[in-house]
Amino acid sequence: MDIWPPEFDDVLRRHCRFAAADAAIAPNASLTELGMDSLQVVELIVDLEDCFEFCIPEPLLTPEVFAGPATIWKAIGPLVSVADS
């Protein structure tokens, strides 16, 4: 079972230089391991907000949340569901 929707996967792949196109993104990899630096994290935040038409609350803009794909989705997934409903 996928742990996040394809839209999230698409946004992640646009910013993960080291993610292989034919392999799943490791949920617990760090963003650094996936090839992102601080600028790409900024672009990722903005891309996620555009894609899901919501605003990531400032308290979630932390290194703990933006540690890796799984922690990001865990934090924003419930907010995206609310925004979509």
Partner: protein, 292 residues
Amino acid sequence: MSSMQRVSDVASRLSELSRQNRYDPYAAFDWPDSLPAEMYWLSPELMTCHGTSVWDDLSEAARITLSHHEAVSFFSLNVHLIRELIGAVVERIYTTRYPGLSEFFHDFIAEENVHAWFFATFCRRYGGKVYSARLVPGQASATQAACLRDLAVFGRILIAEELCDHFNVVMAADQQLPAICRQINRMHHQDEARHIAFGRQVVRALTEEALAEEGAEKVHDVGGYLARYVATCIHSFYNREMYSDAGIVKPGAMRRQLLATPGRAAVHRQMMGRTVDFFSRIGVFDATQVQW
């Protein structure tokens, strides 16, 4: 004379100018209780949708309303850029790498503190808030050599200052805007002229140092990063929350539509052309590396 000695001499002269031109920010501005709702607060040609089909589809009243939010967003962006650059300079004052620059750094920090205050005052008074920065704090890389890290840091500062200065120059002279908007932009431009003069000197010196100590390949890596920073900075003007506040129903979709409009890339090139030419002349990055 070494490059860093030249920077130090320039910084001393700029410090003198700074102290001659010091003003009391708390007395310099006559803040009206409110700004005219029927006036633009940001010059139309600087707005993110100018020259696009979105602009054509907006009524004049809607354009003016959006300009209010774009002004607050632009000044908020300045606040966050200043937070970053004050932090970077504070980390370097009284360090062994910059022994001749501490006096200038004091003046720089003092002036930037004032700038952040008047930008934030505008935002809070007329927009009710300072828009938040869309970044995760505490992600600076400490793995590079000091000269490369400093080139990245002072390069970022210079890019941000020159981008904002482009806006300041246009708005300081724009009679369509309320007087307080023109005044803020004029005063910021006057101080920034000194900071930009210093920035170009220090970035040139750091490039020479990095080329000598670390080689062209590593300098080009920093250049690639700075070229991406140019795009990130420009894209941050397309603030999703700002569009939402202006009543745009799908602000994220509009942001993406505007950034994909071919004519906007030409506007971005024009905004940053002189800055990118400077980085190209000193061999750090060129316009072909920027995703306009």
